[in-house]
């Protein structure tokens, strides 16, 4: 078996390739690693928020911004196929948000985040949140250089989602069960969704939230602030 390298010798017969050099998402992963390094240098916590469309990501982030933007300097990058609507909603809370319009692409790629970062002034920023395109499939495959991936699942969606979209839940640090104020009207079991998610990822954290009825928002914000503090601590330790 010969390794692939461009040589003057003509390739004949079957050539076995190196799985890392011939990885189809190699370009994305390379940019993601550059983002990770840049974020480490500047001690910015990068969070990638994913979910199906309509599970309440933007509403949660509006509430989050109102709650913690005086405690931590934060900015948001938000991806959608079309329109500036979500960024406008987020700016209403007084924070800096940049819309990434993917023009039909069903997920955000690392290159889009890199470009977004260049348009945002990141001086002094401690928390950068990426609100991904609403889709539990493709965004799971694209590393954006984030520290943590957080996935929302709304009570209006059905409690069988994790096993339908295993990779997303496998790679998420935290699952937010959203719209829990509607639980009494819906055939949705929090226990079932947690059990399903933990079959895939035994370590996944769970917080039940309702952005409109103020349930679990403090717990979620505290989780974020704790992670920001950890990232900032790395800076102090490096300075010693």
């Amino acid at each position: 078996m010969s390794k692939v390298q461009k040589s003057s010798k003509a390739a004949r017969g079957t050539v076995t390739c190196d799985n890392t050099t011939m990885h189809l998402l190699k370009a994305n992963d390379f940019v993601a690693e550059s983002i990770r390094n840049k974020m480490a240098e500047q001690n910015i916590l990068l969070i990638n928020i994913t979910s199906s469309a309509g599970s309440g990501k933007t509403t949660l982030l509006q509430e989050t911004a109102r709650r913690i933007s005086d405690k931590v300097k934060m900015k948001i990058l938000v991806g959608d196929l079309e329109t500036e609507r979500d960024a406008n909603r987020l700016r209403e809370t007084g924070i800096d948000a940049l819309q990434i319009v993917t023009g039909g692409i069903c997920h955000l790629e690392a290159q889009m985040i890199w470009q977004g970062m260049e348009s945002l002034d990141l001086e002094g920023v401690e928390l950068l949140i990426v609100e991904n395109v609403g889709n539990l499939v493709c965004p799971a495959s694209f590393d954006l250089g984030e520290d943590y991936r957080v996935t929302l699942i709304a009570t209006t969606e059905g409690d069988d989602k994790p096993k339908k979209y295993p990779r997303m839940f496998l790679t998420s640090e935290l699952m937010l069960v959203s719209k829990v104020d509607l639980l009494e009207y819906l055939p949705f079991s929090v226990d079932a969704v947690v059990a399903d998610a933990r079959d895939i990822n035994p370590n996944i954290g769970v917080i039940e939230v309702s952005s409109t009825k103020d349930i679990g928002i403090d717990e979620w914000c505290n989780w974020l602030l704790e992670k920001v503090a950890e990232k900032q601590k790395a800076k102090e330790e490096a300075a010693i």
Partner: protein, 116 residues
Amino acid sequence: MHEISLVQGIFNALEDAFSKEDLANMTDIYLQVGMLSNVEPTLMQNAFEAVTLAEEKYQEVKLHVEVIPVEVYCSDCDINSTIKNYKFVCAQCEQPNNNVVKGTELSVHQVHFEED
């Protein structure tokens, strides 16, 4: 959902690794896609045919897609287990385990070129 751009990724990877002359002799591409890669083999085949037709290159090349099951490695038992029904546990000790060692592949595994 993004199979077209993945097909473009196949060509980019190949064009990085091989010369134009080599690629003119290419007959088969063997792709490995893990069960966790979210790639649907049939859609990948369709996308491949669409792209090769439109770009009028590699039209004679056959794409073979091999699906790789998910495996986890348990360090206590020192064994790999194949994951069934997305229940991530070690087959021996039955402890939860998401130390995935196989199943996320999305790469060109082999390429076949015409013999002289």
